[in-house]
């Protein structure tokens, strides 16, 4: 199987062609740097994304707490994670990088606050 992957590591957007089968990469072509080569291989085997959204803050109608996944999550788990986060309400004070949801959807990755409230 051959797949064209547009690299998103930097704004240059190299067009990288990855070929392989059953989660094994055979060749990577068209990358501009080693980070791009790694990105394309990973994107071919198991694509991941940083998830960002907001959660409600108790007692504050007009303020939301922005959160992110501490590390990129498997792409196919994004909507499951969103469903979990939708039900979360936090209580101030919160500090940047406080854990808001631990090990979200069994990914081993935490959702953390990105600002102080």
């Amino acid at each position: 199987m051959e797949k064209l992957i547009i690299c998103t590591v930097c704004p240059r957007g190299c067009r990288i062609t990855v070929s392989g089968d059953n989660g094994v990469v055979n060749s990577v072509e068209g990358y501009g740097c080693i980070r791009g080569k790694t990105y394309a291989s990973n994107e071919f085997i198991s694509p991941v994304r940083i998830l960002t959204t907001t959660v409600k803050v108790e007692g504050l109608d007009n303020e939301l707490l922005p959160v992110r996944s501490a590390k990129p999550l498997p792409k196919d788990k994004i909507f499951d994670c969103i469903d979990v986060i939708k039900g979360v309400t936090v209580k101030a004070p919160i500090n940047r990088y406080d854990v808001i949801v631990k090990d979200i959807c069994g990914t081993g990755i935490d959702m953390v606050a990105t600002k102080n409230i």
Partner: protein, 420 residues
């Protein structure tokens, strides 16, 4: 009137103002004051909860709040002063005073030794691009929808068409999708993407959102609420081909059709505005046409990466501090930076010749996308800087460094040529 004295006064507490403030303080300015109209520092980054910031500067992928949070921490650490909830009404460049309305002190007069303009930019609206049709509810600029959703917990619609493939438009396509809305399509007038490629991949392709290049919205329908829009392809002159117009049902339209530097204050102060960038004409110290008045960030030219804004603003902060302390470089004249082949604009617009030689970064945008190009800076018959790029695109800013000691003429020209 309430009075405040300071060395460097900065209009705007977004990423540009924050970076300039920290840098001015670090350069030795005693009192540095940020004047901000919002109730918190951070500017537009407060609503940019998505990642993608800081890759150049911090070598890691941060969200907007994390990025400005680092600068706010630094500003507090070095002792930057700030005045929130304060709307600047007037900037007087000659006597370095600022009049603002503060919710606590009322009208306030700020006396400074140098001023930095860091007001950022504003979105173009439906009115700016003149789309015919009714005026129902459900029409938003992408950025105002972003503020409502990300800061005010107000969802703006369920079935969305986005006009413009700028970064904010694409990021809102993803954000609306994650919040449960259906994004029907993103419509782009040009035949190429306006924003960054990574946003196309992560915000459109990931969510299966179609991108209609070389198309536009020709009409908006709906009385109380939008019921749909007509979308048509455009010919080579960007004129819609009305025979191929199609109706697309939606209840919301987001406009991501460009940004305009916000220069009402600068213009009123008499600062010379460049016609291409719509921002103050500046030199490498980010000094405007008025001595001691500096400008940085999106108020000067619209950037695509905040990392570049921070770098440019640090330059403004440093030299505004030196101006305030009376040790600004002694300038002897100006060199005009001219746009050559396939260059739309350059920033800085001119270079000041001084007793201090410097390696200056020239930022510029190309007119059309090209591959395998050579960027050159010419001064008379000499090439004084040269760099190769695999590809250039109007949506992505380019830069090249110039050593000012190599300048022998009263102008330099930047060209982007195919091949070597």
């Amino acid at each position: 009137m309430y009075n405040i004295n300071c060395d460097v006064a900065i209009v705007g507490g977004g990423p540009a103002g924050l970076a300039a403030a920290v840098s001015a303080k670090q350069e030795g300015a005693n009192k540095v004051l940020i004047i901000e109209r919002d109730n918190a520092l951070g500017g537009i980054l407060q609503q940019c909860i998505h990642p993608g910031f800081g890759l150049t500067r911090f070598n890691e992928e941060l969200t907007g709040p994390e990025y400005y949070g680092r600068f706010v921490d630094k500003a507090n650490e070095v002792g930057v002063d700030y005045l929130l909830n304060s709307m600047v009404l007037q900037v007087n460049g000659e006597d370095k005073t600022i009049i603002c309305a503060n919710s606590e002190y009322g009208l306030t007069l700020v006396n400074a030794k140098s001023i930095i303009l860091a007001m950022g930019c504003r979105e173009r609206t439906r009115a700016n691009i003149v789309i015919p049709g009714t005026r129902p509810a459900g029409l938003y600029t992408a950025g105002s929808a972003q503020r409502l959703i990300n800061r005010q917990n107000i969802m703006v619609g369920k079935k969305v068409v986005i006009l413009g493939s700028g970064d904010i438009g694409m990021i809102m396509a993803r954000r609306m999708s994650l919040e449960g809305a259906k994004v029907v399509m993103v419509v782009e007038l040009m035949d190429y993407l306006a924003g960054l490629t990574r946003n196309r991949v992560q915000c459109l392709d990931d969510f299966g959102i179609p991108l209609k290049l070389a198309h536009t919205i020709t009409r908006i329908e709906g009385n109380t609420r939008v019921t749909g829009v007509y979308v048509a392809p455009v010919d080579e002159n960007k004129k819609p081909i009305l025979s191929q117009e199609e109706f697309v049902e939606c209840d919301t339209v987001l406009f991501s059709v460009g940004l305009i530097p916000e220069n009402e204050l600068s213009s009123k102060a008499g600062v010379l505005i460049n016609k291409v960038t719509n921002g103050p004409s500046v030199d490498q110290y980010m000094q405007t046409s008025i001595s001691g008045v500096f400008a940085c960030g999106n108020v000067v030219h619209v950037n695509d990466l905040v990392d570049n804004v921070s770098a440019e603003s640090e330059q403004a902060g440093k030299y505004a501090a030196r101006y305030a302390m009376g040790n600004f470089p002694k300038t002897t004249g100006d060199v005009c930076c001219q746009t050559g082949k396939n260059v739309r604009y350059l920033c800085p617009h001119k270079l000041a010749l001084s007793n201090e030689y410097d390696k200056v970064t020239l930022y510029f945008r190309v007119l059309s996308p090209k591959q395998n190009v050579t960027l050159t800076v010419r001064c008379g018959d000499n090439i004084i800087a040269k760099k190769k790029e695999l590809r250039v695109s109007p949506g992505e800013m380019n830069s090249i460094k110039v050593d000012t000691s190599l300048i022998t003429d009263d102008s330099i020209t930047v060209d982007v040529i195919e091949g070597d």
